[in-house]
Symmetry: D2
Subunit: 346 residues, 4 copies
């Protein structure tokens, strides 16, 4: 069975396993005070060109979003996000369970429109009843978005300016940040991105690690952040496991090489689908590809190729997702090509 | 200055003040165990024809919604509501602060469409990722809605059937319940309404009381509800103040007479606006009337007539609200008629 | 039946009822923007000699404690309190429901010992594991305490100094503040008290109002405080009801006169108990008096005199509370004297 | 440097690393639906002789406690625990951040006394004000306790009976459960323990895993538990990492063999300390050993032997902890013996 279901089906890059084996019996301090964490943090500060950055390694994306937003929001504040944002849909109400409302705006290919966001904020701040409403205190963006798309530097700058005007924080969910940064469509560098954000995370789980996300506060973390992480159940006794992985992935640019592999395979995937006459739901420049697939074709593929259902499209078709990853091989793409039936032209 | 700003600008019906004076020095147990509360609860059970109903008197609508939903929802559940629902917009994130997401659906004149709600629930329960999403555990309705409109009996039954199918509770926000029930457009009785709901409240603050809402659980309250009320800061030491008011208002049907006054005045208000050529934003059969008013006319009225801004309508006009209440007099309507400029026909 | 059960058994001082009647039909803005609230706030600023103070009127003590602490604490912080503190025992977990731990210290007649508090804070800040522990961010005191006792000026200053040293806020629960301030044992003035606190409240419910507490932030309130009050369900539409009462009570010093009545009656009560040979649980200089009463005597009084059980003392006796209030009359004390059996000497 | 600082200083048992390498490129479903999780769950059900048990793999102890208690407690309930319980001291207020109070009782060598617990519950349920107090809804025990001690079967049964009488859940924190179960002082089997609890966890992090705890609900989990785990940020995309480790550890009884190693080394450690005249703070039959060490001796050991400070004992001495683990070798104990100065007799 060929699998394009997601980018977290396999274990991790072998370099990580080798490092785990090499260092296994070294005694290290707990709770993220170990040598690997310290070294990985230094690497991240250097890559971000943010010497004052504070970094915290966490286990997964929802945990990271929940803890970061708990630290950055005050009790009367909510978070502004696209209606397709991960925190708005697929985190089981984690942000609300932490006490904060997710205020949604329409999504365009997964992205917020800066002009729409500006109008919404202007309307809010002009509303005579705003003291009875949740105050937007933070803007949540995903990069790439849940639909694989990317904000341009100009868009991010416009959104940053909005945050400045309305005293909001800017937070970026980088579960697949590597895939975003190495995309040919990306006009931003990591240091530029770090300079625009109050906080963001460099995803590990979906970029070749066993687990782990590196939460970065480029201008310094909120006070007592470790205590907050502990309170949320996010502090690993063997924090070394997280530090070691980021240390291994960020050495020699492996992290970005793995993202490049995912994107090269995604490019081949797109070429195969185009060649065979398939219809794209939208143009995605990263490793998640969305297609409109009729149910007859889906039935033909069942048993040979795994992919994921995204949403119903119409009476006969669904939007489906094909995902490549650090582990996808050219052979898998070739095998998919062999299996894919040609689509007729309408 | 004539005021149609809201239905809570004055104090309370004089009968309440008289009762306060008469009973002032009677020692009574605290925390809602007093004679007035007990008697008012009996009256409500009788009016609802719900002998097993449990009733709790609270101070205001947001408090009532927050506490009731805390008791009725489990941690992984959210509440389904119209996007214009009070809990979704004007309660400062009270439901989220209590840990629960408000899942919104489009509003039509402030109302949910039962067919749309059915489709949304069907889609949710068919979603393969629903374990990562907030489970709708309760349906929140306002009656009348925030725009003064009313659900029909058929609509409420359809929504109740949806709740049964998907194991959801049905909760009804009755901040202006009296105004809803006495409306000629209302085809429901209070016992019918009580039989359809898991919980609802009979509003006092906007129906002639100084403060107070009567939260009713027709089939019995969740266990330890008083403790939850205390925890949320909703338990008044002198609970007698709430019980006494409902006891006074529910005697001889005064509560409904006051609502009838608000609706009769609203009928006169509509007639005046129609006579003068004003445009209604929607048809409201209760005490809140919404008009589209150009800014020039608004400027002419300023200083003589107070009403409230609802939202921007277009470049030259706004939606505004005129509200009548238990305290509005025919003389005030006549005075408004004298002040209102005729509107030209387009 | 003579009642000394508590200080909230009656309604309110007649002046309040008179003002309610006089102003009943005056239209006023909602949500605490009315003339009465504005005037009462001015009175409080003047009485506290704190021209920058911000004041918010709330409905009850638990609500006030919960909202104030939500605004003053950050998510990783807890509140330090005596083990007998109201928030630690009788608020149904309101502070924890808001996400914060109550860290308790031993109580001595209801009071914290400043030296013990200093040692506890020193120990906490020297603990190598403190990042895994709740940080004390605020000190909660009751004045008078739940056992009727009072901190001296020197004790309050010592506790303020501790707060300064450890970057903690100082909050004072003044449910019966009037009774504390007019006690002959009190060596503090209201302006002195205001100058020492980050926030405190001037209780109304137990000092002659129908309901209401005046929360005071002498140096200014946290931002967006009204939104937080709304979120917690504490914002009354007819906020006038709270403002009017404080305006009435604070005019001509009535608030303090009522407290003086409670204390004079408590003095008479103490004299009666002493004369009859009763044993005091502790010396209380305010309106709550605690006695050790054997169950035989309790049985004799049952049906004629109501008081409240406090806690079990030993196999034959309980600690009980007799409470006087603004409404207690010399005649009631005389009637009690007539009913009390003499106690034999051991 | 010899380290006895804790039992999570090293990586993991080599069998885990081998399994990670062998299975690394097998595609597996995410979020705990993988083959390894399924197999490990079967092993746990078999070991517990609880065929209806539901098992959930989580990342760490605080996370497990927080999520389990969120699922098991209702909003008005709190958790009863020893004052030294991990949730009461070293989880940064995680339980309170989830909205629930930790009600503490005195600890005796880290253990609750069943008779004291019975009296406390009797007092609570006899308290006329209990509706204003947090209801104890769950009893939290650690096994072994934070001080290494163990409840007997008779004690656990007495506590279970209390839970039954007062409608409370029984939850057991098994961060070091293996070390408890293999102790010669333990008179309980795992199936007996499972039968007594509503939930407990089988710790991995401190028993030879990289990370992971297996939360077991012997009679079935609360509904929608996965959604709650997701909401708390505890659901790993690559849940395989947790399942694989428990699968590896529970095969052939390795989990218990590793615990036995820790206890054998602890036995040797105790013998060395006794031989050299050291004073024990208490008798611990598991892998954590607590000694009273004067600061002079501590200074002599510094630089050669690492252990952890527990608490101040008196002017000249501290309580310190020496911990053995799955990775401790007889050579390390011998090396310690060589380094330890003899203690003089008083």
């Amino acid at each position: 069975m060929l699998s394009f279901v997601n980018d977290y089906s396999e274990g991790c890059h072998p370099r990580i396993l080798a490092r785990l084996a090499e260092t296994n019996l070294q005694p290290q301090p707990g709770y993220g005070e170990d040598d690997f964490c310290l070294r990985a943090k230094d690497r991240i500060r250097a890559l971000c060109e943010s010497p004052a950055a504070e970094v915290c390694f966490l286990s997964g994306g929802t945990q990271t979003n929940r803890i970061a937003l708990s630290a950055l929001l005050r009790p009367w504040e909510g978070v502004l996000a696209a209606e397709t944002g991960h925190i708005a849909v697929h985190e089981a109400g984690a942000i609300e369970a932490g006490g904060h409302k997710v205020l949604t705006l329409p999504a365009h290919g997964g992205k917020l429109d800066p002009a729409e966001a500006a109008r919404a904020l202007e309307t809010f701040h002009a509303d005579a009843n705003r003291a009875h409403m949740v105050q937007p205190g933070l803007l949540y963006l995903s990069f790439p978005t849940e639909l694989g798309t990317l904000y341009t530097k100009a868009e991010l700058r416009a959104l940053r300016a909005l945050c400045d005007r309305y005293h909001m924080k800017l937070y970026l969910d980088g579960a697949r940040l590597g895939c975003g940064l190495v995309s040919p469509d990306c006009d931003l560098t990591l240091p530029e991105l770090a300079a625009l954000c109050d906080a963001f995370y460099l995803g590990g789980t979906k970029q070749g690690a066993l687990l782990g996300e590196a939460l970065v506060f480029p201008k310094g973390a909120p006070g007592h952040f470790v205590t907050l992480v502990k309170q949320h159940g996010g502090l690993l006794a063997k924090g070394r496991l997280l530090g070691l992985q980021f240390d291994a992935l960020l050495e020699d640019g492996l992290y970005f090489d793995l993202a490049r592999n995912a994107l090269e395979r995604a490019g081949e995937l797109r070429a195969v689908f185009r060649e065979k006459g398939y219809r794209f739901y939208l143009e995605s420049p990263t490793n998640q590809q969305f297609l409109i697939l009729d149910r007859e074709t889906q039935a033909k593929l069942a048993g040979n190729v795994a992919f994921s259902f995204w949403e119903r499209y119409d009476a006969t078709s669904d939007v489906v997702r094909f995902c490549t990853s650090w582990a996808t091989t050219p052979e898998q793409i070739a095998a998919l090509r062999a299996l894919l039936p040609e689509q007729g032209r309408a």
